[in-house]
């Protein structure tokens, strides 16, 4: 049994070079996803999707000395490389009706492409909006946590290519401890707004790709209270039982009443 592995993505070290995006695309042979200008920031990728498994977010702020630069005129930038969170309790995995989405021996969430049938239920089940169906191919795709590389003891492509160790790869427990140490150090250095994003207290139960960001994680499109959608199912089935009961009893009564 291999140890559970994880990513620690530290935005305080990220320089926004997009090496992770390139490395991911090249290693996983992902297609280009449109060379468009978004026009609202220097981020022209926008979000992770079926052909973008790493995505560097450009969180731009008014100029602030010491925050992503020391010029009073240049915007302060923080970058954060987004990726599938590989949830402890994964919505996509629970929702998948084919068993295509599985938990690997490294604790990652993996979509087996030969089993995925393209029902796209995982797309609406992911509380982070990561999984996406490729419309031409019909199947759903997302970060594999470089399952193939991990299998032979290699580091995932993005972490391997990262020039500043902003993307760290390692064992889950060790990285969680390292994240705590790093956070403490950042606070000591005066970055009081540095926070760790790892929603352990929600029904997600923590993620295997956590992030150190500066300021409110919501600026990075990280939801404060992500929930695994299966928590709603029980209430849903209760309502379904009521609906079915009404349907059955109503029909029976209508026909019994008719007989007399």
């Amino acid at each position: 049994m291999s140890a559970t592995t994880a990513f620690l993505t530290d935005s305080t070290l990220c320089i926004g070079c997009k090496a992770c995006e390139v490395a991911c695309k090249e290693w996983n042979d992902l297609g280009e996803d449109g060379l468009n200008w978004t026009g609202f920031s220097y981020d022209n990728t926008e979000a992770v999707g079926h052909s973008t498994w790493r995505h560097v977010k450009f969180v731009e702020h008014p100029p602030e000395i010491g925050h992503g630069g020391n010029s009073p005129d240049v915007a302060s930038w923080t970058f954060s490389s987004d990726v599938c969170k590989h949830c402890e309790n994964a919505g996509c995995l629970e929702a998948c009706p084919t068993g295509s989405i599985v938990r690997t021996e490294f604790g990652g969430v993996y979509v087996q492409p030969d089993i995925c049938n393209g029902c796209s239920y995982c797309v609406v089940a992911c509380p982070f909006g990561v999984v996406q169906r490729n419309k031409e191919d019909g199947r759903a795709f997302k970060c594999t946590f470089c399952y193939d590389r991990q299998k032979v003891g290699l580091t995932p492509a993005c972490a391997h290519a990262c020039p500043t160790e902003s993307i760290k790869f390692g064992k889950l427990d060790e990285l969680r401890a390292e994240a705590a140490r790093r956070l403490e150090k950042l606070h000591e250095e005066g970055m009081q707004d540095a926070t760790l994003y790892d929603p352990i207290d929600t029904s997600i139960g923590g993620i295997h790709a956590f992030f150190i960001t500066r300021g409110d994680p919501r600026q990075y499109n990280l939801p404060p209270q992500p929930e695994i959608p299966t928590i709603y199912a029980e209430r849903g089935w209760k309502s379904a039982a009521i609906g079915a009961g009404v349907l059955a009893v109503g029909t029976l009564l209508a026909f019994l009443g008719d007989r007399q």
Partner: protein
């Protein structure tokens, strides 16, 4: 001046690229620059324009985090067909068990069987490659409403069709053996039919889409009533306008849908905006009127009307219920798309805290961004 009056080199077949449009756009850019001091558009950010900011109010530039549902048109249609067929199977079974009109039984079985054929066809069509449907039968996952639903559909189909075939075979006599077979198949179809009419509510409710999961307590019941109304209506349109039992059921179902509609109208929460506003709101509301108050009124009027007029009223009510049931499903699915596009909901940003619109809306209207501070410091930099 029309495009045809232009020199031929400036005539473009694509109306989007027409000369006049481009000229108008240039004029609009000039006016916007005069009015606001800066111009925003895809690919154009003149120097000195305000740099955007990501903030607690705007999230990540208002880009929605959740992915939109990627189902094709077949899925809402399937919700409608499956719901009606499921309810029809229940009606057929109880009608037979209580010794009701055999023609009602036969036609109800027909509705159920037609739905049983259409349902998997629609699902397979959404998947693209037919054999992919089989991938869902390699496992059973009770925690996945999609998996549970696939088994409901797969069991409903054969039993509803078997019930209809046997029903047809014994149309001229009543062999005891065949009657037992039909009853058994019909019972199976009725049980799975109850699932068919309700599980789709759980299916969309147990997702990350806010407008769906916040309504999970009522969606399955709502869909069950909608399916019942559609099932009853489909059977009645086959010539059973004066079946007392069906009329009673029709009144009950449309009354239930009316109550559901009132409840949704009275409930005010941010997640419910897509079922009240915009195109999806209009579809849901029209669907609501067509499945609730309108057929209810028509059916009540039918009770006190004379024979021939009464029949017409029931027919009109049935047509309204069928259309309403379909529109209800289409509206809810569309609402899911809009809900996913609202970046505020999953980030728990209260509506109204920011004037920032999602990027596409901002582009269209050229609305200035918040963040005057940034604007000024950039002006100084120049």
């Amino acid at each position: 001046m029309t495009d045809s009056a232009l020199p031929s080199r400036l005539q473009v077949s694509d109306p989007d690229l027409s000369f006049q449009r481009r000229e108008r756009r240039l004029e609009a850019v000039r006016l916007e620059a005069i009015r606001t001091g800066h111009v925003e558009a895809i690919g154009a950010r003149p120097a000195g324009s305000p740099i955007p900011i990501a903030s607690i109010e705007t999230g990540y530039y208002g880009i929605h985090m959740l992915k939109e549902p990627q189902w094709s048109w077949e899925i809402p249609v399937y919700f409608f067909v499956g719901g009606a067929a499921g309810a029809a199977a229940v009606i057929a079974q109880f009608a037979q068990m209580t010794g009701s009109d055999t023609e009602v039984v036969g036609d109800a079985r027909t509705v159920a069987a037609i739905g049983a054929i259409l349902s998997p066809a629609l699902l397979v069509s959404d998947l693209g490659v037919p054999s992919r449907f089989l991938n869902m039968l390699r496992v059973f996952k009770v925690q996945s409403p999609m998996s549970v639903g696939v088994y409901i559909v797969s069991l409903f189909g054969p039993s509803a069709m078997a019930a209809k075939i046997v029903n047809w075979a014994r149309r001229n006599g009543s062999g005891t053996m065949l009657k037992i077979v039909e009853g058994t198949a019909g019972l199976f179809a009725a049980l799975t039919g109850l699932g068919m009419a309700t599980y789709t509510g759980v299916l969309i409710g147990a997702t990350a889409i806010p407008v769906w999961n916040e309504n999970i307590d009522t969606l399955p019941t709502h869909f069950a009533l909608s399916g019942l109304a559609a099932g009853v209506s489909a059977i009645q349109l086959m010539g059973h306008e004066d079946s007392r039992a069906l009329n009673l059921l029709g009144i009950a179902a449309s009354a239930g849908e009316t109550l559901e509609g009132v409840k949704l109208e009275l409930e005010i929460k941010p997640a419910n905006v897509p079922i009240k506003k915009g195109l999806s709101g209009a579809i849901t509301r029209i669907g609501g009127v067509l499945s609730g108050p309108l057929p209810l009124a028509l059916r009540l009027a039918a009770i006190i009307s004379k024979d021939s007029r009464s029949k017409n009223l029931v027919r009109a009510a049935s047509a309204a219920s069928l259309a309403g049931s379909l529109l209800t499903r289409v509206g809810w699915i569309r609402a899911g798309h809009l809900s996913a596009r609202d970046y505020r909901l999953p980030l728990q940003i209260a509506a109204g805290t920011s004037k920032m619109k999602p990027p596409e809306a901002r582009m269209a209207k050229g609305q200035p961004r918040p963040g005057g501070l940034v604007e000024r410091s950039c002006d100084r930099a120049l």
